[in-house]
């Protein structure tokens, strides 16, 4: 297990190579173990991709090596444990194509598929949240069928609306807030993915499993 400093106030614990759902489950276990029993000085634990970043307060740090050893001990114990049940399953309704998915045609053409086939492939995928970042509540979803992998647009859009569902490289995800963005937009969800003042601000958490469910324009309108 390798621990690498991130600046002077965090340590990155590399949990595994590759990024399949088994690694994501281990990352979640390691993060949970450190959070349950945080070594003194630890202020925040962030699971993201194949690693766990542990933030500490350098002003009150007495022994960096001891902190790393304590983090590593917890991580190793968690790794050795059998991963608990897989993460929650979250279903995200998506209205694909049309004005909601201006890049669906490009994505389908690149994959040598019709629009309908591309949608079927996207909505049939089994996804998992590798990390949340970029925007509050923005889940980087792994598990995108390889045929749909599409490079980011060469010029990002200056405004992508909240709810937009897109593909960026090997990842897919939905924009929780309006923002500039370079992903290929294929649809839109009526769900509010982030709301700072509700009890559970983010719909998605690292390690969650995600499925997309196609909905019609009428259903979309009823959601809103």
């Amino acid at each position: 297990m390798t621990l690498t400093p991130l600046g002077d106030s965090a340590v990155v614990v590399a949990v595994g190579a590759g990024l399949d759902d088994a690694v994501v489950a281990r990352v979640r276990e390691v993060a949970a173990a450190i959070e349950r029993d945080p070594p003194p000085g630890v202020v925040e634990v962030v699971p993201a991709f194949a690693s766990v970043t542990v933030y500490y307060d350098p002003a009150h740090l007495t022994d960096y090596a001891a902190l790393c050893a304590a983090i590593e001990a917890r991580a190793l114990r968690a790794e050795a444990a059998v991963p608990a049940q897989s993460g929650r399953l979250v279903e995200i309704p998506v209205c694909y194509g049309g004005e909601f998915g201006p890049d669906l045609g490009d994505v389908a053409a690149r994959a040598g598929l019709s629009r309908e086939e591309a949608v079927a492939l996207h909505q049939g995928g089994r996804y998992f949240v590798q990390a949340i970042g970029f925007l509050p509540g923005f889940g980087y979803l792994g598990g995108l069928p390889e045929r749909l992998h599409t490079p980011r647009r060469p010029t990002p859009r200056t405004h992508v609306p909240a709810g937009a569902v897109g593909i960026g490289g090997s990842l897919t995800g939905a924009y929780p807030l309006g923002s500039p963005g370079g992903w290929n937009l294929i649809g839109r969800t009526p769900l509010k993915l982030f709301d700072a003042v509700r009890a559970e601000p983010a719909l998605l958490h690292p390690g969650d499993r995600v499925r997309f469910k196609p909905i019609t324009r009428e259903e979309f309108a009823r959601w809103m």
Binding site: L6, G7, D8, A48, S51, A59, L61, Y64, L204
Partner: protein
């Protein structure tokens, strides 16, 4: 007590020391970009260090208090209010922070503190996602803020011993520790003089100068970042991430500004220059402890002034 905002200034936001515990769901720290300055300004008026105050950017606001109140300014030097010392403002008097004479961000602490609804445990304004502070936005002309009552007795005049202040400068040398991709940039980061771009904001201080060439082209996955991370996009112009920066970044990380020197970056104005010097992680930690000790001494000294 009300604080009437008769003129909002260029970019004035309510900030405390930020929100912790939500980076796992992509919520950045936010809070004062120069946290040192806000902490000290708060101590000067008898507040807890994490109390919400105003972050004033380049051109400050014009305020009228409805009661006599004690205020203090830290960070950037604005005409209109002495820096690093408390002063009493009478009810109805206009406090006018004009253009900053030195530095970029001034922190106005008001005895008792500004009262704003806490969002995710903090009163800090996060402009990008439009929450916190005053409805997630910068102050505008005509706003009325509310400040908590402040009943503590204040004795005499005092100011901060300048020896505890960061070495604020328009051309600082800032200490960094190595980033994950440091080797791919060789020593270029430490040889150049970088100029601060006007595109800088609370998310990041953008630098120009000789672009940094990356010696390597491995595809990088996204990774966690923190305030101080120096990211290098493909154009080679480094960006120093600041308080509102996203929690995960996809660009190579050449280095990280040490926490103790972040206030120096926070006070850079467009056109200022900055150089970098590498230190060990142990040196960075020593500096953090020394800074904390200095603030602790100030805290103890000031505690005796407020009864």
């Amino acid at each position: 007590m009300d604080v009437n905002v008769t003129r909002a200034g260029m970019l004035t936001t309510v900030q405390d020391l930020g929100r912790r515990g939500f980076r796992a769901i992509g919520v950045p720290l936010s809070g004062a970009v120069d946290a040192f300055a806000l902490r000290v300004a708060n101590l000067l008026v008898g507040n807890a260090e994490n109390t919400a105050g105003l972050e004033c950017t380049l051109v400050g606001p014009e305020l009228i208090f409805t009661r006599d109140t004690l205020v203090a300014l830290g960070g950037a030097d604005f005409a209109g209010l002495p820096l690093w010392q408390p002063s009493v403002w009478r009810a109805g008097e206009t406090l006018r922070l004009d253009a900053a004479r030195r530095g970029c961000r001034g922190y106005l602490a008001v005895a008792g503190g500004l009262s704003v609804p806490g969002v995710l445990g903090s009163g800090s304004t996060f402009l990008r996602a439009q929450f916190g502070g005053t409805q997630g936005r910068a102050l505008k002309d005509g706003d009325v803020l509310s400040a908590r009552e402040f009943a503590r007795h204040v004795a005499g005049h005092w100011h901060v011993d300048e020896r505890i202040l960061p070495a604020y400068s328009a051309a600082p040398t800032v200490r960094v520790v190595a980033g994950a991709q440091a080797a791919e940039y060789g020593g270029a980061l430490f040889e150049g003089v970088f100029k601060v771009s006007a595109q800088s904001d609370r998310m990041g201080v953008r630098l120009g100068g000789a672009p940094l060439a990356r010696n390597g082209n491995a595809e990088l996955g996204s990774a966690t970042v923190l305030p101080g991370t120096i990211q290098v996009p493909p154009d080679g112009n480094p960006i120093i991430l600041m308080a509102d920066a996203q929690t995960i970044g996809g660009y190579p990380q050449a280095a990280h500004v040490i926490g103790v020197d972040l206030p120096l970056v926070a006070q850079l104005r467009p056109g200022d220059t900055v150089c970098f010097r590498e230190v060990s992680l142990a040196e960075a930690h020593d500096a953090a402890r020394a800074r904390e000790r200095a603030i602790g001494m100030l805290r103890e000294g000031l505690a005796q002034k407020f009864s």
